[in-house]
């Protein structure tokens, strides 16, 4: 690995961490799309800053752009407050308008500046190591590494200092104001940090892919854990993994680094979405199927209980048509009941066993009284082989 390669990976990892931390809170606060809005509407700020400073890495440009990000948030909230349109429409109206202004500003003045929309939107990490920070003729490393490092450092300090406040204002705004922690200050603080991070990162990964780096690690981690600390750590880890994995994928395919980073993020998310324990698609579908069978079993047992006197109602072929089930389904349910010793079959007549009767009575009581007691332990008590 050559030194620029290491530097690129370092920058990518720093960007990923700096994005993942505010991303966690954006996802938890259901404001994920604000990051999308900010990332588009910083464009006029960047263009304006660029015309003034002629340098994509100048602090003034970053401040101006971050300011236009905060303006976006304020505008969206103002439109929302008028009550003329819903919140999501407000977001959808503001950022394309600001973005268009930025595009037109570039188009009208594009002849003499090294700034085009593609660069802002897509970024190019591969060139980052060539723009170096020189101080007293000493090479201190790539400029963007310094910028993102400072942003990350500030984010980390703010994160550790205000962790408790952020946590309480995220999960319970009412409690937070009662405790004297203003949710509004937290809100705008988070928005400012997000804006600055987006601006700092657009140079490296581009404005749209910043959104991926903010939302995807947090969302993926959120499928795996509900503990805020673990969530943040996991999001950071996923971000760094995708950053470095993405770099090598880009290296292998000879394609855009930021695109590969996002693709790796996408693959990680897809895998977690499918296979996450308890919250993944497969386990959710499995659980739903299981619950469906359990409800069917309960219906079946209740039916048997209702007709404990009439034998013809309990004929093995009868419930197939009577409860209006398909053959396979009835067979599954009967097998399950047999396996759990809930029923016994004699001469094709199904009857409840003592255990089955006990369970049915308990279930009936639960259904009638519908108290908040947990039905799960009941199932654990009676089911040996779950559905």
């Amino acid at each position: 690995m050559s030194s620029p390669q290491i530097e690129i990976q370092l920058i990518a990892a720093v960007v990923a961490v700096a994005c993942a931390i505010p991303g966690v809170f954006l996802v938890l606060r259901k404001m994920a799309l604000i990051s999308d809005a900010i990332s588009h509407s910083i464009l006029p700020g960047i263009v304006l800053g660029f015309f003034i400073t002629q340098d994509l890495n100048s602090p003034l440009l970053i401040l101006l752009a971050a300011f236009s990000g905060v303006i976006t948030v304020v505008l969206v909230e103002w439109i929302q407050k008028t009550g003329l349109v819903k919140e999501d429409t407000a977001i959808g109206l503001v950022f394309p308008a600001l973005f268009s202004i930025g595009v037109i500003m570039i188009a009208k003045n594009a002849n003499d500046v090294h700034l085009d929309v593609d660069a802002v939107l897509l970024g190019e990490l591969a060139f980052a190591p060539f723009d170096r920070l020189l101080l007293w003729e000493m090479d201190l490393g790539p400029k963007s590494l310094w910028i993102m490092g400072i942003i990350l450092f500030t984010t980390l300090i703010l994160f550790f200092t205000f962790f408790k406040e952020l946590k309480v204002s995220t999960f319970d705004a009412g409690l937070s104001s009662a405790l004297g922690i203003s949710p509004i200050i937290m809100h705008y603080g988070l928005m400012s940090v997000s804006s600055v991070t987006v601006v700092g990162a657009f140079d490296a990964v581009g404005a749209i892919l910043v959104v991926a780096l903010m939302i995807a690690p947090a969302a993926t981690a959120y499928l795996l854990t509900s503990d805020l600390k673990k969530l943040t750590l996991l999001a950071v880890a996923i971000g760094v993994f995708s950053a470095i994995g993405g770099y090598w994928m880009a290296h292998w395919l000879d394609a855009s680094i930021s695109g590969s980073m996002t693709t790796v993020l996408g693959i990680v998310f897809l895998l977690v979405y499918l296979f996450a324990p308890r919250r993944g698609l497969i386990s959710v579908l499995y659980r739903q199927k299981q619950q469906r069978t359990e409800v069917s079993l309960l219906t079946f047992l209740l039916h048997l209980n209702n007709h404990s006197e009439e034998e013809n109602e309990r004929h093995i072929n009868h419930h197939n048509e009577h409860i209006n089930w398909q053959k396979v389904r009835s067979k599954t349910v009967l097998d399950l009941a047999l396996k759990n010793n809930m029923v016994s079959v004699e001469n094709s007549i199904v009857s409840l066993t003592i255990k089955g009767k006990e369970f049915t009575d308990l279930a009936l009581e639960y259904i009638i009284t519908n108290k908040n007691e947990n039905i799960e332990h009941m199932k654990d008590d009676f089911f040996l082989f779950r559905g």
Partner: protein, 374 residues
Amino acid sequence: MTITEYFELVFTDYTLRTITLGTAVLGAISGMLGSFAVLRKQSLLGDAISHAALPGIAIAFLITGTKDTNILMLGALVSGLIGTFWIRGIITKTHLKTDTALGLILSLFFGFGMLLLTFIQKQPNANQAGLDKYLFGQAATLVEKDVILMVIVTAICLFILLLFWKEFKILLFDEDYTRTLGFNTRFIDILITFFIVLAIVLGLQTVGVVLMSALLLAPAAAARQWTNKLSVMVTLAAIFGAFSGVFGTAISASQNNLSTGPVVVLVAAVFVLFSFIFSPERGILFRELRFRKNRRDLQLQKTLQFMYGIAKTHENISHPHAIKILNNFQGFTKKTLQELEEKDWIELNGQQWAMTNEGFTAAENLYNQQVPNV
């Protein structure tokens, strides 16, 4: 070229005519379908879908190797639909919320699309240039064939819209009720979503993935301000959309270096701003005026109430009092006194005022709900 020249040329010049027609039709169809997106609180779905269409374009190119617009659009349609259904899957099957799901699909698909685009650019194939025009769109690449396709799609869409009008309408306003009536809500839902995706894909070539969502939203958001009736809203949105297209094209054609997409979006944004401010029912301006008027009426009533309090203590209610004694009361000015006199509630006489019988009854009934319009 100036704007007037543009309007002279628009009927004769092939390119201008095609582009103008194209953007107008596009504006109309996206305004029409955007109304549904806005009312169903799916405004940002459009943003996600338009970004999610990008990898479809790239994959369609990788498979076929042609740049035929229709094939690329087919790819965009498929990938947009996959994105849409994945968003659904995330929202219904996991505890992630709508905004996260939209943001995820938007950015992940777009990133994957970018990967493919850069990958294609490195291929030794001279045919690949120009795929990135789908990022921001280039109305100038529209040809007559594209416009005809747009018109056909719009016609089909209009037909379906009229055919299922009642179903769409009821689904918009009360989904549970629709289901209890026995409509197949899933089918209607998928139908309307499919057409929204279709409209977005149609617009990719003209305004690009980044700005297409605005063209979907803005005309509808503007139209919403002028009416509470769905049919009027859809029609108005179509008209606003078409005009944004035409004006946008006119403005961008009259200047150098001005791409059509952003200008069309900005024109649509101006429509929205205008509607927000000047719509008579909901607009900010008239609402503010109404607030002001109400506030003034309240002030007037406050003054009247105060006078009533004084007059009540006298046997003759029309006994004149000095204006001075109102001084410690903040709600009056010369103008409000005159206004009160105009309503015949008081009589002014030099520095004195006297309550009339009418004013007395009005003040008496001020807080009496039974008597309207005191």
